[in-house]
Assembly symmetry: C2
Homo-oligomer: 314 residues x 2
């Protein structure tokens, strides 16, 4: 049985796999090799490198393990039609992403970018415009595993949390919950608006001009979900019109963000190059999910941990 990694893990992690599964032929490549693809039963991918025609080519493929959260760049229809099992690494982004979101919020509130600028100029200037996170209100779009972890940490800082999802059903670490349809009414009370929503038909371009108009002009907006939550033009207009104060973005409509994109030059925008889930422990943790799954698979059990619905997207 061939397990095909479309990327090349750290030597110690590969070594661990070979030792734990001596009967399996592992192939590690930094790109898609059609000869290997044709023979592989299992493919492990970051979810951005497989096209529809390659799914057709991969005749023996029965399970795709996606070492990522989003599957919107995968040929969802072709995978579903073939009945290929898909599992992901849901949950492992929770810690690094929540830490990144809190880092950016605290950096903004405590003026770290300004401190770094003074340092570059070797200028002792104590006129910091620092404000406090404590006592503010945050609205969290998508209070799932990651959103709730952000909510938990924000509550520790004395922040009132409002969760917002499709149903408005209860979520962990949210003081209040609202549905997407109640969003417009809730926005004027938020000091911070954070999205960690995946890209689904319900969330694509969910945020429109009227939502930004409803926000406080002091609002800090963070998009750490997917770039198609809001159109670039709507966001640029909201910032330039002073409808909100600042945006920290980790995701974009177009990635990589082109060099000539206006976001790079706007000092009301912090450009994070889609790294919020990065962690020195990322792959290690992915394999901690993959290994027990591979054991199950060898025993004929296809009810994998983090098995997902490729069409629904989560």
């Amino acid at each position: 049985m061939i397990v095909y990694f479309t990327f090349d893990p750290r030597p110690d992690l590969k070594e661990g796999l070979l030792q734990d599964f001596p009967t399996i032929e592992f192939i590690f490549h930094n790109n898609i090799d059609h000869t290997v693809l044709k023979e592989a039963e299992v493919v492990v991918t970051y979810g951005e490198d497989i096209e529809a025609q390659q799914i057709r080519l991969a005749e023996k493929l029965k399970w795709i393990m996606v070492a990522s959260a989003g599957v919107e760049k995968m040929p969802q229809k072709e995978i579903a039609e073939r009945g290929i099992v898909v599992s992901n690494v849901r949950g492992i982004h929770k810690v690094p992403m929540a830490e990144s979101v809190l880092a950016h919020i605290l950096s903004y509130k405590r003026g770290l970018a300004w401190i770094y600028e003074q340092e570059q100029k070797a200028e002792w200037n104590r006129k910091s415009k620092a404000t406090e996170l404590h006592g503010s209100t945050a609205l969290i779009l998508g209070p799932g595993a990651i959103g709730s972890e952000i909510g938990r940490l924000l509550q520790a800082f004395g922040v009132h949390t409002i969760g917002c999802n499709r149903s408005g059903n209860k979520a962990d670490y949210m003081d209040d919950m609202i549905s997407f349809s109640a969003l417009q009414k809730a926005l004027p009370s938020a000091d911070i608006v954070i999205s960690v929503l995946p890209s689904t038909p319900d969330t694509q371009y969910l945020l429109k001009s009227e939502h930004f108009e409803a926000m406080k002009d002091s609002t800090l907006f963070l998009n750490f979900g997917r770039g198609d939550l809001v159109s670039t033009d709507v966001l640029i207009h909201a910032l330039n019109a002073g409808e909100i104060a600042h945006a920290v973005l980790d995701v974009y409509e177009e990635e990589p963000l082109p060099a000539e994109h206006p976001f790079w030059q706007m000092n009301t925008v912090t450009v994070s190059p889609h790294v919020s889930s990065h962690s020195s422990r990322y792959l290690e943790r992915s394999l901690e999910i993959f290994k027990p799954n591979l054991k199950k698979w060898l025993e004929g059990d296809t009810e994998l941990i983090n098995k997902m619905d490729i069409i629904r997207g989560y």
Copy 2:
């Protein structure tokens, strides 16, 4: 009765004082006026502008309210000899300082300075070296009001906290407690070493070369207490020799830090210009302590909130 502010608060805050205390003559100045000083019964100061000879001049002075945490720049002996009551704003730094410390720690772990640099170059580069705060160990020198608040927040991030004070007596939100004498032995287990110690005879130059030698070479060191905790030379040597990875400093042996000081140019040092306690709500909160105290004072009650021992320093 004259209450003399040696600084000029925001108009709305002054207005509030005048309304609440119509019988008192308030004088607000941005510097020390000897004529006023001679007549004032109460002086409100940030604690850096009064010299010994001015205490002698201030014949009617009975109470000094210090809108700051440290009193080491005040003529402590002269104040004590005269029996002048001193009160401070202990406790109001807790929230902004703990938020600043967490902001710097998270920024370091999640690579924010690097993200800001890429942004300045308009360069999409995803090779972030981000690590996680979760699962690390922090040693907190001075787990008092501020230190415990830092401990509480770190614990929420899944950090193991070790408190260190003179006695080794229990402190809030510390998983373990040690005394100053056990410091050397505890340092090798810490990923982060944070000081919020005041300057007292026990803490001056408490950290020596051997302490930095004992730390992990990956240690993040933060000094948010007082600059005389460690000599500049010892710290520079430890950083240049790779004994620790990075220092975030908010306090210095010499303040303002001179323009030619090596810290400005070292990329293993983050220079914060003594702003960690700054907050848009700072003076507002100071006055929330001052007003009930002034009411007590008018009633002849000198047992003020946050009354302190000027010689002991806290």
